[in-house]
Symmetry: C2
Subunit: 129 residues, 2 copies
DNA sequence: GTGTTTTGTGAAACGCGGCTAACTTTTTGG
DNA sequence: CCAAAAAGTTAGCCGCGTTTCACAAAACAC
């Protein structure tokens, strides 16, 4: 039920990778996140049992429910990274730090913050590095 | 050496409580953070061994080093809470969520963000609820 | 001053999210 | 087709930050 920060990261990376590559394997997620494949294996089992992902023979994909979370996370990721970059933070650092900020807010608070800061919808760039 | 999120929270709460009350005991920290006194006891031992706090017979206080971190955290806390409140988030939720955001950024990024959003120095309100 | 209540500590355990190592299964390429 | 490489799984471990529970030590209240 309660999705943790790490779970959200896994979902987000599956989302990003699927935009880039179509099909996503555990190993791709492991490389993307910089964890071992054993960690991914465990995490996928947990996320499958809670209904966020489904595992085919040789790929993983998001369920409706997982997709919703993943998109939301990615949107926030883009928002915070953009915000930090605009503030003059390097792309690399912004990306690292944005990764954590994206898990801090409720959906409601995030929407309010975005509305106030008026950065509209985040520009999707799942295909970039 | 490496101070974790929870360590920063402990330092911050010692700071806030000392502004409010003067003297701070473990039990005060426990109540403030909503953890057990055993947790505080362990955490204090760790923070003492790394030079962030000193423990007297019946009180805890920050070292120079601890004070610096604590002030920084509190400043960020006020910044993020203020930001969220301005966005229309309730004080209670803003406080909860700001608590997490304050640990995400490097000092450098935080300063840049603050400069861009132009909210000046945070207003200190350690004496409030 | 003595007994009760409050505060602090220590030991053992747990959940989480990683890791390594060993193994199985699948894919690939000669 | 088959061997080797790549991908996935399983088991066991670790560190962190909690918890509970039992106990020790102070503080407080008469």
């Amino acid at each position: 039920m309660a999705l943790r920060e790490s779970g959200e990261d896994y979902l987000e990376s599956i989302y990003v990778l699927s935009q880039r590559q179509g099909t996503v394997r555990s190993i791709d997620v492991a490389e993307y996140l910089g964890v071992t494949k054993a960690s991914v294996s465990k995490a996928m089992a947990a996320l499958e049992s809670t209904g966020y992902v489904e595992m085919g023979k040789r790929d993983v994909h998001l369920t409706e429910r997982g997709l919703e979370v993943a998109r939301q996370m990615w949107e926030r990721h883009c928002f915070f990274v953009g915000l930090l970059e605009d503030a003059g933070v390097s792309a690399e650092v912004a990306s690292q730090e944005g990764c954590h900020m994206e898990h801090c807010l409720s959906e409601e608070s995030f929407e309010k913050l975005r509305a106030m800061l008026g950065r509209g919808e985040a520009t999707d760039s799942t295909s970039e590095s």
